[in-house]
């Protein structure tokens, strides 16, 4: 079996190498030197605009305290039931001051349960130009951002990257691809337009994505 697999691999590679002996035509084009994307002036403003366009709920707060208050407010609007939390120190601190009678499951107890009503996670970074959040599997896990109908993230402005190119550079600089089995870019809530091209939010993933963005977090 293993030997047959190795032979198949060798044959495919040999076919590729022999195919590439004939050079393919390459079409030059004069244009690509200037910027490709519309440049952005102010990252926070752009992020705000993009979130509004992709139906991410964005709450701007000054500091950790403001973030905790905002979190309390958002949670008050969530259907009763268990909430799931990424076990990160800032989130621990925030939830410490929060009065809630809900069942709380921390990520160090395992993956989110099927019935969780909201998941709260940190982010690796935010992307202003697309209104996206970027999360890493080693921190926020894989299921947390998609199992519950509400996903709430807490981030600081220091984590706001201007565009995708910068976000991907950050991933490289921090060697995130080596230290994570998966990385996720999320832009808005889960959606489909498969029925008559009519946009419906909350297909398989969250109906609501909430970003609490603090100027500073401690």
């Amino acid at each position: 079996m293993e030997r047959a697999e190795a032979l198949g691999r060798e044959r495919v590679l040999a076919r590729i190498r022999s195919a590439l002996k004939a050079p393919a035509p390459h079409h030059q084009c004069a244009s690509p030197s200037g910027p490709v994307f519309v440049p952005l002036a102010n990252a926070v403003e752009r992020f705000q605009r993009e979130c509004a366009a992709n139906s991410t709920e964005l709450i701007l707060v000054p500091d950790t305290r403001g973030a905790a208050d905002a979190l309390g407010m958002v949670l008050a609007s969530v259907t009763p039931g268990e909430i799931y939390l990424q076990d990160a120190p800032p989130l621990r601190r925030m939830l410490g001051g929060l009065k809630t009678d809900r069942a709380v499951r921390w990520s160090n107890d395992g993956p989110p349960s099927e019935s969780s009503q909201a998941a709260i996670t940190a982010v690796e970074c935010l992307v202003a130009a697309t209104g996206s959040i970027f999360i890493a599997s080693s921190a926020a896990g894989r299921g947390a951002s998609v199992v519950a109908p509400v996903h709430i993230v807490v981030a600081s402005e220091a984590q706001l990257e201007p565009d995708l190119a910068a976000a991907l550079r950050r991933v490289k600089d921090r060697e995130l691809t080596t230290h994570n089995s998966a990385l996720f870019l999320i832009t808005g809530s889960s959606r489909t337009a498969d029925i008559e091209k009519i946009l419906v939010l909350g297909a398989h993933g969250p109906r609501r994505v909430v970003v609490i963005l603090a100027r500073n977090l401690d």
Partner: protein, 474 residues
């Protein structure tokens, strides 16, 4: 036995007269066109974006061995497994064996055209596995037991009424709450409830991938619904089936490919879920599968790679924009093609994957207007490749003798002004005679393919050249 070409003509005649269906297609594509106009506003220079994407894919395809090996090495370093499948049969067998060995009973699938190409689902069902398509459009066509109508919008041809009726029949339990509703949000909720159970009980998640990122050693998957996210988070096995042509050199290439794919595919600035996955769950991670397998599929792709003239066909990122732009696709729809990949890209690609002789008729399913080439985000020269396939079919002697004889005669006639004038005069006289006898649109009318559906214009007495001589001296 009917050939693929005869079946195409029959289906095309049938589909193009189904006005309800054509209305549904027109509606979907109009919505798409409007969205693309909005999505393109994120680019200062969309042409430059297309050229960049072309450069990325050109670089990857022309050093394919190098980038695939780099990808493989990095996936293995993370504990993932890579299988090189020479044929569809190899890929099916590998996945079926794995499912059997690991005691899999339920599989959740994300939308993937390559798994359609290798007919994976029927192979797994034959082993007694339950296989759920989890993309809403794919789920709908699976319940209808039909292939996807469009590579991005599988249920483009159906109305909400069709879907409500289907759900009432096939999902009576999930449908109970709003039995008479045709409301799209309610229909989406029905599918969500039905598939939620599948996600949480499945042992294996199967996905495709939009890109294989060589320097990161990760696959990139794009969806709007997040079904791929659930399918790669919850089951204990993840298998990704991917054509070898999907590789790209660098992680930063996604900074342009993701937005361009989104805009060309659906008109969005970026798709909701863009995920990078490079291995099974790591130590210390809270969840994720125990095993991660990537099946790299050849299945005829290396033959196309060897055709340097058409190598750029492998640039395709399956955005579906050439289908939406194509006047033939709009009229005959996706099922008429009878192939996994439909529209212009399918017409170019299928003869390479399944034989030029049997599928050369698709090279003529085109008006050669070039709309496909003008919208392709990776600049595949689609309409010229249709001509290349026509030429190759002639070269390989796959055309009937009478066609070859007719072209010889035509060339001989066209090479002399006198012969051309004589042939024109004879043709006009013959047609006038035929039509005077009332034989228009009958079997003896050489213009029958046209006159079958339309009245012939009056046949002029004089040739254009004669009229030119009379009037042109002024």
């Amino acid at each position: 036995m009917t050939t693929a070409a005869q079946e195409f003509l029959r289906a095309a005649a049938h589909e193009s007269t189904d006005l309800t269906r054509r209305k549904a297609i027109r509606h979907a594509i109009d919505q798409y066109d409007a969205a693309v106009q909005r999505g393109r506003k994120q680019f200062v220079d969309y042409e430059a974006a297309r050229q960049k994407c072309y450069e990325i894919k050109w670089e990857a395809l022309n050093h394919l061995d190098k980038y695939l090996l780099e990808f493989e090495e990095k996936v293995k370093a993370r504990g993932g497994q890579v299988f090189w499948a020479e044929t569809a049969e190899d890929a099916r067998r590998y996945i079926a064996d794995l499912a059997m060995r690991r005691g899999v009973r339920t599989v959740v699938k994300s939308k993937s055209m390559v798994t359609e190409e290798i007919h994976l689902t029927p192979a797994l069902e034959k082993l007694g596995l339950r296989v759920f398509e989890t993309d809403l459009g794919e789920f709908i066509v699976q319940l209808r037991n039909e292939p996807p109508f469009h590579i991005v919008t599988p249920a483009m041809h159906l109305t909400r009424g069709d879907i409500a009726k289907l759900f009432r029949e096939k999902l009576p339990n999930a449908m109970s709450s709003g039995a008479s509703s045709e409301d799209p949000p309610e229909l989406v909720a029905v599918a969500r409830r039905a598939l939620r159970r599948a996600f949480f009980s499945a042992e294996m998640g199967i996905t495709g991938a939009n890109f294989l990122v060589a320097d990161a050693g990760m696959i990139a998957i794009t969806t709007n619904e997040g079904n791929d996210r659930l399918g790669t988070a919850l089951p204990r096995l993840h298998v990704a089936v991917v054509g070898i042509e999907k590789v790209i050199p660098r992680l930063e290439d996604l900074a342009i490919l993701w937005p361009v794919l989104a805009t060309a595919g659906t008109g969005q600035t970026i798709t909701c879920y863009d995920s990078l996955i490079g291995g099974p769950r790591r130590d210390g991670e809270v969840d994720g599968p125990e095993e991660f397998h990537v099946v790299l599929l050849d299945n005829g792709r290396t033959d196309l790679l060897a055709d340097a003239e058409q190598r750029d066909v492998l640039h395709c990122i399956r955005c579906g924009s050439c289908l939406n732009a194509c006047p033939v696709f709009r009229a005959v729809g996706g099922h008429t093609y009878g192939t996994t990949y439909s529209g212009p890209i399918g017409s170019v690609l299928t003869p390479h994957l399944r034989g030029l002789n049997e599928f050369q008729h698709l090279s003529y399913a085109s008006s050669l207007c070039g709309a496909c080439t003008s919208v392709c985000p990776v600049k595949i020269d689609l309409h010229h490749h249709l001509l290349h396939n026509r030429r190759n079919a002639v070269r390989e002697g796959d055309r009937p003798w009478h066609e070859r004889a007719a072209f010889k005669l035509w060339r001989w006639t066209m090479n002399s002004a006198g012969r051309f004038a004589l042939a024109g005069a004879a043709g006009r006289a013959a047609l006038r005679g035929l039509y005077r006898l009332g034989l228009e649109a009958t079997a003896v009318d050489p213009l029958r393919p046209w006159t079958k559906y339309r009245t012939a214009p009056p046949i002029p007495r004089k040739s254009f050249r004669a009229m030119w001589r009379e009037n042109g001296t002024r």
